[in-house]
């Protein structure tokens, strides 16, 4: 109980403190401390739930089960390491004159507030509050995307706001329909939107209404997950915002949005006894993978490249959850974890690389290894990891997804394999000259943060080789819950 309150309260307090102090020079340090404390609280909560099983607290408003607790831990961890990365990154940006103190104050307080909305979305039991938190997540980051005030960043922020806003309005309609179906069984009042209650009576909910609700919920939350064709905001927001924001968008927001979709899918599957929900998810997932893979080969901007890679991977996870079954769900959860860690590691390396060469265009970045071997190798390893090379964790999850697909949905396998191949070729052909060869990199005024990069990559490597038994057990329980 206290851990839960801690997990939620610390970011809020951090946001308030940083709103006041954010312009001082030790603001980044405060940010790191707050994120660190959140992480500690999250770990405590995780230990609690692993030991005692799912908990339902505060008048059933908050629910923690193996599915969302590992996401809470992941969110807090990535939030923490991104805060560590953001310290030197922002210092360099400030020194280069791209950001001023007031903007940094906004950045730091919104960062903590964003973490809060993510954690609230994960921990709440109320589908309505889930919606509110998701919308709030967009609101907190919209001003961050436009932080640099360039024309491109304003456009990216506007697209982000409007597209996600429209998407989330669809999700609101889906939630209303869900409440409508629930009210007939559970009666009016706050109890009808609680996921645990809905889960208990899902067989009695009206199938037509729930199918319609799921379409809207998928479209709505799918927009935030970056599923094609609703993905238009994603590359722009990633490319134009500061790199720490790109890292948390890719690493955290996409995961939480997908979590919302999966929670809805569990309800709908119980009510509608066809594979309607699963087929929709598989369709969208596959479409995202294929389209993103092909669009990868046209990218000239480094951050946009990796943004499309995020779309591709979220498509893979959606496809996995769409297939369902213990192995596919396990693989999906594992993939969410390793993608989060790897992508944020890549963005850390990319962030400093772009600072070294003062450009985001791929052709402007060359020979990172010559000037700074740590950074160059970090980027190379991260890229290879995200493309699914063994022995990294992404290979393990993609392998599991592929064999399940071959067994259950053989028609999808050629698409997946082609897409993965195309993505591999596109990304490696771009990253390789960036890392090796003649260099265009310059020195940085402060030491870059390489520890988060290697910490993440180490974890991903470990997960590829050996999954700790408690983690495997965790995933298995969650997989069973997803169904």
């Amino acid at each position: 109980m206290i851990e839960l309150v801690g997990v939620l309260a610390i970011p809020v307090i951090g946001a308030v403190v940083l709103a006041v102090l954010g312009a001082r020079s030790h603001a980044p340090a405060v940010n790191v401390v707050a994120s660190g404390l959140t992480f500690v609280a999250a770990m405590a909560l995780t230990v609690r739930v692993i030991a005692e099983g799912p908990i339902l607290v505060l008048d059933r408003q908050f629910f923690v089960d193996p599915f969302n607790v590992f996401l809470v831990a992941l969110t807090a961890f990535v939030g923490f390491t991104t805060a560590i990365f953001s310290r030197p990154y922002m210092r360099i940006e400030e020194e280069r004159g791209k950001l001023t103190r007031p903007k940094l104050r906004l950045y730091h307080s919104m960062y903590q507030l964003f973490l809060f909305t993510m954690l609230l979305a994960l921990l709440t039991n109320n589908m309505g509050i889930l919606w509110v938190a998701m919308e709030a997540a967009t609101l907190t980051t919209v001003l961050l995307v436009s932080l640099y005030r360039t024309p491109a960043s304003l456009e990216a922020a506007w697209k982000y706001f409007i597209l996600c806003g429209v998407g989330i309005a669809q999700a609101l309609f889906g939630t209303i329909l869900l409440y409508f179906a629930a009210e007939r069984v559970l009666g009016a009042g706050g109890g009808a939107l609680l996921w645990t209650e809905l889960n208990a009576v899902k067989a009695q909910l009206e199938p037509t209404v729930l199918s319609l609700a799921f379409v809207f919920l998928l479209v709505g939350y799918g927009t935030k997950t970056g599923l094609v064709p609703l993905h238009n905001w994603l590359p722009d927001a990633h490319a134009e915002g500061p790199t720490p924001v790109s890292a948390v968008l890719s690493g955290l927001l996409l995961n939480v949005a997908l979590y919302a979709v999966v929670r809805s899918k569990v309800l709908v599957e119980g009510a509608v006894h066809t594979s309607f929900a699963r087929e929709l998810m598989m369709g969208f997932g596959l479409l995202s993978v294929v389209i993103a893979a092909f669009l990868l080969s046209r990218q000239k901007d480094l951050k946009r490249l990796f943004a499309y890679s995020s779309i591709e991977h979220m498509g893979i996870v959606t496809f996995a959850f769409g297939m369902g079954g213990p192995i596919a769900n396990f693989a999906g959860l594992l993939h969410m974890t390793v993608h989060s860690l790897t992508k944020s590691a890549i963005f850390y390396a990319v962030g400093h690389a772009t600072q070294k060469t003062e450009t985001q265009l791929i052709e402007g970045i060359r020979g990172l290894v010559t000037r700074s071997p740590m950074m160059g190798w970090g980027l190379m390893l991260g890229t290879l990891a995200i493309l699914g090379l063994p022995p990294f964790g992404v290979f393990a999850s993609e392998f599991l997804i592929l064999i399940t697909a071959m067994r259950e949905q053989p028609w999808a396998t050629p698409f997946l394999l082609t897409a993965l191949g195309v993505a591999f070729a596109a990304v490696v052909s771009r990253v390789q000259p960036m890392v090796f060869g003649e260099t265009t990199a310059k020195r940085l005024p402060h030491r870059p943060a390489m520890i988060p990069v290697y910490a993440h990559l180490a974890i991903v490597l470990m997960l590829g080789l050996w999954i700790p038994p408690y983690l495997a057990d965790w995933y298995r329980q969650a997989a069973r819950l997803i169904g």
Partner: protein
């Protein structure tokens, strides 16, 4: 017609008015009138909720009415008016397609929404269930308004009006969502507006205009 209680007639009238206002916003050329129409829409919504509250004896809906009244009739239009004054915006609204065609597309969308809503309304047990189709039509029309407008402020008003339609759908199908959720939604909308206000200034500062054609430069393959 006999047998339909009086308050249901008022609700039907308000629903028809909402639909009419949605079309009026679609066809409107001037920004100031758009904001006033939006305020009127909020008022019709509030009256409808109040009548439902009175007719079906659900006191918690009075809270919703107060919230709607406060937020959508008073606060949001006031923020928008202030924004317009400070941004010194006086232009006419241009559309991407001309107005008669927009209205025809609007009619098609209305027919589509009515069809979509019929199976759901049959399942509902509220008195106002037949107005669910109108609520969905309002949402679709606001969506159309967002797509066919070139300037920033009409797009935002379309967005807010979409939220109005969703709220009406909630009230007509289910007698309103739980209070805590409604408060959350209201908070989101308010904060969204404030952020948008800041955002408009940023856009204006950068481009010296609020025409969204400046915001279409980023392409797929950059």
């Amino acid at each position: 017609m006999s047998g339909v209680p009086f308050y249901a007639q008022i609700i039907n009238l308000m629903a028809a008015l909402l639909l009419l206002l949605a079309f009026a916003m679609l066809a409107q050329r001037r920004v100031l009138s758009l904001i006033d129409l939006f305020a009127l829409q909020g008022l019709a919504l509030a009256i409808s909720t109040a009548v439902v509250a009175w007719g079906t004896h659900q006191p918690h809906l009075y809270g919703s009415t107060a919230l709607t009244l406060l937020l959508k009739v008073i606060v949001l239009p006031w923020i928008l008016h202030r924004l317009i004054r400070r941004l010194d915006v006086r232009w006419d609204v241009e559309g991407l397609i001309n107005i008669p065609i927009t209205m025809l597309i609007g009619i098609v969308l209305v027919v589509f929404s009515f069809n979509l809503a019929v199976p759901i309304s049959q399942l509902a047990s509220t008195v106002t269930r037949s107005t669910l189709g109108i609520a969905m039509a309002c949402v679709m029309l606001s969506f159309l308004m967002m797509i066919t407008r070139r300037k920033a402020i009409p797009q935002v008003i379309g967005f807010l009006s979409m939220e109005n339609g969703l709220f009406f759908a909630a009230t007509s199908a289910t007698y309103g969502m739980p209070m805590v959720v409604e408060l959350g939604i209201a908070l989101d909308v308010l904060v969204g507006m404030l952020i948008l206000g800041v955002f408009f200034f940023q856009i204006r500062e950068q481009f010296d205009s609020l025409d969204l054609k400046h915001l279409e430069k980023l392409k797929e393959h950059q």
